[in-house]
Every structure is written in structure tokens, then in C-alpha cells.
């Protein structure tokens, strides 16, 4: 894209401004997490002196590391599960021929219109009946299959020429080998996209972990954050913000690493 210099300056000014506005709350939180409690109560923006007290306090009050570990584990489980199941489902929708394939896919995608909250009670009953309350599998199970992921990967797989499948068939490679050695490598960037997306959504889950866990052993970091907030009458905002920072760090790291791929993958899925 070629722009005149003046246009460019205006564009960049606007972009910077909106970036600052969007980033402001996080910036406040960041500064606040390094403040003493007086500063926070006085509503200062920059700490008068920098301190790590809040972080120490946050880690002392709660098993934050345990929570972090739980979150990482569950998010990974959900991510891997989603990648496996939605890529297999998408493969079937693209490369297997069966009656009612399109109708089935339509129904499949239609489930995206049902919000998770609407199915949370039956899910809870199922997990409870399976005796999976307070377990990692119980936390991950309802999220292993995803219509969105299947949809995204189906779009990608559809761009693989059918002749590739036919050529492998003639070479004597079955569906599973073709899936592993051709489809997955070709769809790599979409898989990374879906992986990051599902990891982040799992990381940010709140309602389900709250319902399906009763003790700190399996709780995720988001619930921990909430506990930090409501344990006392007077909120120690500095401590809460320190907790929030700790929670946000893995997300940020992941975004920085995966930004390019994420954009590419989402754009690929959007084309055609």
C-alpha cells in the first residue's frame, strides 16, 4: 500500500492513539501492581516508589503457581484435544464421501449458535455423573470438540486439491497416512492459529472451572484471581493487579510468538 506522507502520519497517529487507549487499563494495572497500598488508594497513576510487595503478597496468599500449572495443563489438554478432534472431523467433511455430508456439516456449524452457557447445566450433570468433578479431565472434556475449529480447518482442507488425495490413493497411502503426512503439514499455519486460539480461550475460561471445581488442587488461575479479590472486604488492588499481571504473562508470550501465524491462519481461513 502506498500512501502520501501526510496520510501516513495521520494514519499512524490514529493507530497509536487507539493503541494507547486500548492499552491504558493494562498499563494502569501494570503500574498499580508495583505500588504501595497508599498510592493505590490515592488513585495515583505512577507509583511513588516501586515495590515487589504486591507480588510477594499474591503468591503468599494463594497457591498461584499451582493455579498457573493447572491452567497451563488444562489449556494444553483442550488445545491438543481440539486440534486432534476438529482436524479429524474436518478431514471427514472434506475427504470422505458419505450421504448427508453437507447436511451434517450444516448441523455441526449450527451448534456454534448455541452459547456455552445454555448447555452448561447438562454438561455439569454429565461430568458429575461421570464422577469427574474436581478432576482435570472434567475441566477439559466439554471443550474437546469445537464446531468453530472444524469449520476453520475444513476451509483450509478444502483448498487442498483433491488430486493430492487421489495421487496418494494410487501410491497406496490410506486415509490416515494421507492425513498425517500431507494434510496436517499443508494446513500447518491454520493448525497453529487454531491452537493459539483454543489455548487462549481455555486460559480465559471462568464459568466452567468455577462450577466444576471445589478445591484449590485443580482450580485454574482465573478463579484464583477472583479469590484474591473477594477474600477481604477492602480490596487490596495492588495485590489483585499483581495477580492479574502474572495471569496475563503467558497469554502475552503466546501472542508475541504466534502473532504472525495467527494473522496468516485467520486470513487463510477467511479466504474462499
Amino acid at each position: 500500500m502506498r500512501l502520501a506522507l501526510s496520510n501516513k502520519i495521520i494514519l499512524y497517529l490514529l493507530l497509536t492513539l487507539s493503541a494507547v487507549i486500548l492499552f491504558l487499563p493494562i498499563l494502569f494495572a501494570f503500574f498499580m501492581s508495583f505500588m504501595g497500598s497508599q498510592d493505590a488508594l490515592l488513585g495515583k497513576i505512577l507509583p511513588s516508589h516501586w515495590t515487589l510487595e504486591n507480588y510477594e503478597e499474591a503468591f503468599r496468599r494463594l497457591p498461584l503457581l499451582r493455579f498457573l500449572f493447572n491452567s497451563v495443563l488444562i489449556s494444553l489438554m483442550i488445545m491438543i484435544g481440539q486440534l486432534i478432534f476438529s482436524s479429524l472431523a474436518a478431514y471427514a467433511f472434506v475427504f470422505l464421501k458419505f450421504k448427508g455430508r453437507e447436511t451434517l456439516f450444516f448441523l455441526f456449524v449450527a451448534t456454534m449458535m448455541i452459547p456455552f452457557e445454555a448447555s452448561i447445566i447438562p454438561n455439569f450433570q454429565t461430568i458429575k455423573a461421570l464422577n469427574l468433578i474436581d478432576t482435570y479431565p472434567g475441566l477439559a472434556l466439554p471443550f474437546l470438540a469445537t464446531a468453530f475449529g472444524t469449520f476453520l480447518l475444513r476451509q483450509t482442507f478444502k483448498q487442498i486439491p483433491i488430486e493430492l488425495r487421489e495421487a496418494s490413493e494410487i501410491a497406496g497411502k490410506g486415509h490416515f497416512k494421507f492425513y498425517l503426512t500431507v494434510v496436517l503439514p499443508i494446513a500447518k499455519s491454520s493448525l497453529v492459529t487454531l491452537g493459539i486460539y483454543s489455548f487462549l480461550s481455555a486460559w480465559n475460561m471462568y464459568l466452567w472451572p468455577l462450577l466444576s471445581t471445589t478445591n484449590d488442587q485443580v482450580r485454574t488461575v482465573q478463579i484464583g484471581l477472583k479469590e484474591l479479590q473477594s477474600q477481604e472486604q477492602v480490596n487490596q488492588w495492588g495485590v489483585v493487579m499483581a495477580g492479574a499481571m502474572v495471569v496475563a504473562i503467558p497469554t502475552l508470550i503466546l501472542l508475541f510468538i504466534g502473532q504472525k501465524k495467527l494473522q496468516k491462519g485467520l486470513a487463510e481461513g477467511a479466504l474462499k
Binding site: 486439491p161 488430486e163 487421489e166 490413493e169 494410487i170 501410491a171 497411502k173 503439514p185
Partner: protein, 373 residues
């Protein structure tokens, strides 16, 4: 020995209309067999049925003498080259060529040996580490060829493999494919919509139209004795000139498109079919230029194409037909001119006026060509 045989093969995609009708065909070992026809006539469908990628609706397919209707593709001992080459974009040229050999349990040494040999034969040695997107069209084509060669399958199927290349490269690849096929003794089934490709490459050609076999035969037979008017106008460039003909004056005179009159000699009358009405066909090279006094007819020029070594002239005013003539050398005529030509009945092919089937090929042209061979 027959490599592939089809008996009464039909194909229908929607269970109502047939895309292919009662195909009967046998292809010999080591033969270069070309399937040609206009696009949409069912060539790819037929090829894909041989490959096992498409179900056969009815009829029997045998490969190496054994029924193969329900054999999975990998057990048919064949390789296939696709129109878009079907190269795996994430694999290097080397990996692309060797793709599939691991399934066939070919050991490492043997794989290496075959790769080296094939790459040398096809001229890919320097490109082995590249990815398909770093190759030109012609190079991709070669990789697809190499993949098919390396499998050592005795039967090779190709579906319009050259249609994405430019004219010059196409001519070169035609020769190369033909050379490879001879060298390796492959049985080839080659699909194309280009009659030049069919004529120049095929040992035998099958012309297909609207799902029906029009004719099977050697290129030269198809050219000289087209089985019907479709083959006559499909094979050869320019197409054969066709016209409605009628016998008059008790069989002593033939009149074409109510315009061109021919007095029939005694010899003509021996060779001519007795039918009152026929469709006649004459090749462009048999409309000879003539001096005014030896001309049999005068025709009006509608268009001229100068090819340098020869001149292509299109005549109008023969009924509503346009006839073309191919004269060697450079002829300075222009549209609107009336040109003397010499046309002789001995070069006429006669087709049934109703169904277009060949009644009699040209008696002169044929005997000449046979001698020339």
C-alpha cells in the same frame, strides 16, 4: 497381450443419464494409447475408472487379464500423472518423487538408486532439493513424470498432462514422454483434447464424443478413413471439408451443395457408392490450385492465412459451408477474389447423409498414402 480391456463399460453419475456408453476397448502391452475428444465427452471419467478413482456403473474392466472393477487403486499396478501435476507443496522434489515408495516396501538402497536413475533420465538432478513452488511449469511437469516413472508401474495414465504448458514446451514434452514410454516399455493411456497431440503421439487413438466411441485406430487411419463426420471434422487441421452431395443424370453427375458439379468418369462410377444422397468430405490439401484452363471450379475467397511455407485459404459460397484449402508455398490472394481450383471426385470420402457414417473412403488418396508409407 492385453494390458487393459473394457467390455461394455458404462458410467452414470446421477443414475439417470450415462456419461459413458458401452465402451469396448482393449489396450495392448507397451502401447501408447491416446483418448481424444472434445472437453466434457468423458475422457477423464474413463481414465479415472481405469485408475480406480471412479466407480464403474456397469460392464467389465480387466487389467492384466484379471477383473479389476472393484480392485483398489493401489493394487492395479499403475501410475498416474494429473493435469495439475498433484505435487505435494510441502515436500521437496526428491520427497515428491519418492512419495509412495515407502508404502511399496522398497528398501533404502533401491530407492536411492531409482531416484538417481530417474532424476538423470528426466533431467531433475539439480532440482532435487527444491520445493514445487520454486519450479517452473515445465519442471513441475517433469517431477510428476518422474514420480510416475519411479514407481515402476507397467501401466501409466496421463490426463491432459501438457495442457498447462506453452506451445514450445508442449512440443518438447511430447517427444520426451514418447521417448520415455518407449524406453521403459510402458503401456500408456494418454488423455488429451488436442488432436495434434493425439496424432503425433499415439500408436492408436480412440476418438470419444458425448460418451460414445467414434473410432479406434491408427492415427493415419483416422485421418484417411474417418468413421463418421464427427471424426472427419475433429481429426486433422484444418478440419475435413464437408458438403451434401446428390447423384444426378442417372449417376453420371455428382452435385455438391447444389453448386459444384462433377462429371463422373467410368472409374469414378466403379468406386462411388450407389446412394442417391450422401455427405462428401475432402481434405484441405486436396483442393489444388489450378491454372484457368485446367480448373474444375472457381471459388470465392473468404479469408487467407499465410503460414510462410504454406497458405491456408478459406472459400465461401459452397452452399453455406466454408471450405478450406492448404496450398504449399505463398499465394497472394485476397478475400473477394475468385480463384480457379481443381477438385477431383477420387479424393472424396462418402458419408451417409443421415447418420454421418463412412460409406466409402477416398479411393485415390488412400492408395497413394499406402504407397508413401
Amino acid at each position: 497381450m492385453k494390458q487393459v480391456e473394457m467390455i461394455d463399460i458404462s458410467k452414470s453419475y446421477d443414475k439417470q443419464t450415462n456419461v459413458l456408453n458401452d465402451i469396448n476397448l482393449s489396450i495392448n502391452k507397451g502401447e501408447f494409447f491416446v483418448l481424444v475428444g472434445p472437453s466434457g465427452c468423458g475422457k477423464s471419467t474413463l481414465l479415472r475408472m481405469v485408475a480406480g478413482l471412479e466407480e464403474i456403473t456397469s460392464g467389465l474392466l480387466t487389467i492384466n487379464g484379471e477383473p479389476a472393477n472393484h480392485l483398489p487403486p493401489k493394487e492395479r499396478k499403475l501410475s498416474m500423472v494429473f493435469q495439475n501435476y498433484a505435487l505435494y507443496p510441502h515436500l521437496t522434489v526428491e520427497q515428491n518423487i519418492l512419495f509412495g515408495l515407502d508404502v511399496k516396501k522398497v528398501n533404502k538402497e533401491e530407492r536411492k538408486r531409482r531416484l538417481k536413475e530417474t532424476a538423470e533420465m528426466i533431467g531433475l538432478t539439480d532440482l532435487l532439493k527444491r520445493k514445487p513452488k520454486e519450479l517452473s511449469g515445465g519442471q513441475r511437469q517433469r517431477v510428476a513424470l518422474a514420480r510416475s516413472v519411479v514407481s515402476r508401474a507397467p501401466l501409466c495414465l496421463m490426463d491432459e498432462p501438457l495442457s498447462n504448458l506453452d506451445a514450445k514446451l508442449r512440443a518438447q514434452m511430447r517427444i520426451e514422454i514418447r521417448r520415455l514410454q518407449r524406453q521403459l516399455g510402458l503401456t500408456m493411456i494418454y488423455v488429451t483434447h488436442d488432436q495434434v497431440e493425439a496424432m503425433t503421439m499415439g500408436d492408436r487413438i480412440m476418438v470419444l464424443n458425448e460418451g460414445k466411441v467414434q473410432q479406434v485406430g491408427k492415427p493415419i487411419t483416422l485421418y484417411n478413413e474417418p468413421a463418421n463426420t464427427f471424426v472427419a471434422s475433429f481429426i486433422g487441421s484444418p478440419k475435413m471439408n464437408l458438403g451434401q452431395a446428390e447423384l444426378l443424370a442417372e449417376g453420371k453427375q455428382l452435385i455438391v451443395e447444389d453448386k459444384l458439379q462433377f462429371q463422373l468418369s467410368a472409374q469414378d462410377r466403379i468406386h462411388l457408392p450407389p446412394h442417391q444422397k450422401t455427405t462428401i468430405g475432402i481434405r484441405a490439401e486436396h483442393l489444388y490450385p489450378a491454372a484457368n484452363h485446367e480448373a474444375t471450379h472457381h471459388l470465392e475467397v473468404a479469408g487467407v492465412e499465410h503460414l510462410g511455407n504454406e497458405t491456408l485459404i478459406v472459400f465461401e459460397g459452397i452452399g453455406d459451408q466454408l471450405w478450406s484449402a492448404k496450398w504449399s508455398g505463398q499465394w497472394m490472394v485476397s478475400p473477394g477474389d475468385v480463384v480457379p481450383v481443381s477438385i477431383s471426385v477420387e479424393n472424396f470420402c462418402f458419408f451417409d447423409a443421415e447418420n454421418g457414417r463412412l460409406i466409402k473412403p477416398a479411393y485415390k488418396g488412400q492408395s497413394q498414402e499406402v504407397v508413401a508409407q
